[in-house]
């Protein structure tokens, strides 16, 4: 298991009450696996996560994207800019 720090924004950040959380994920460590672990740890955003996207190193990634140690991981709820 590897521990990952995940940044949270907007409604996800507000629902959990903090702008980052930590989760342990086994191999293979993918974006989807991190989201699953966050959902298990924070059921209060479980309904928001399926509509959220993941960014790694400040770029959107697909769920199957593999994570590398040190990556900046963020969960991005549906955006509302403009």
């Amino acid at each position: 298991m590897t521990r990952w720090t995940v940044r949270l924004f907007g409604p996800a950040r507000e629902a959990i009450g903090t702008d980052r959380t930590e989760v342990d994920v086994g191999e293979p460590a993918t974006a989807a696996a991190v989201v699953e672990a966050v959902a298990a740890r924070h059921p209060e955003i479980a309904d928001l996560l399926p509509r959220s996207r993941v960014a790694v190193e400040r770029e959107y990634v697909d769920p199957e994207a593999r994570l590398r140690p040190g990556d900046e991981i963020a969960i991005l709820p549906p955006v509302g800019g403009g």
């Binding site: 924004f9 907007g10 409604p11 950040r13 963020a74 955006v79 800019g81 403009g82």
Partner: protein, 151 residues
């Protein structure tokens, strides 16, 4: 001589009021015969409820990078474009204030207008910014319509 390619860009995630004048100045170019601009302003109501003010939150580093990517894509799609400026507010924004600006310069109006329109559509689909509407009796995170990313 070939002057194609964007030479003037300006991107900003700002905690202070946006300036259309500054955006237009940033894209002004002697080769441009057109500057198309879009300003998004904050509405005072949502489905009949009075909005007191708005709060925008950004993933700052990614948002700045995303604005640059939108500009680069505009340059790819409309090579004649000579300048792109995009700015978005964050933090507390009062009703009626400008929350987003897009300005595009080009030799002719068609590509300036098309690129400006595509730019704001793209921004609304991908920019990592979240908007909270604050009412007198509550608040709500307002998501953009999932229209899919423009091609």
């Amino acid at each position: 001589m070939d002057f194609r390619g964007i030479v003037r860009t300006w991107y900003q995630i700002s905690e202070t009021p946006l300036s259309m004048e500054r955006a237009v100045a940033a894209v002004s170019d002697p080769a441009a015969g057109a500057i198309a601009t879009f300003a998004g302003t904050t509405r005072n109501s949502f489905q009949g409820k009075e909005v007191r003010y708005l709060e925008y939150e950004a993933y700052g580093a990614m948002a700045e990078r995303t604005l640059e990517e939108i500009g680069t894509k505009i340059a790819d799609k409309w090579p004649p474009v000579t300048g792109v400026a995009i700015a978005h507010r964050v933090g507390r924004v009062e009703v009626g204030e400008t929350s987003v600006i897009v300005a595009v310069s080009a030799p002719h109006r068609k590509e300036a207008l098309a690129a400006c329109s595509w730019g704001i559509d793209r921004l609304k689909a991908v920019l990592p910014v979240w908007k909270k509407e604050v009412f007198s009796d509550g608040e709500v995170w307002r998501e953009n319509e999932p229209g899919g990313e423009p091609p």
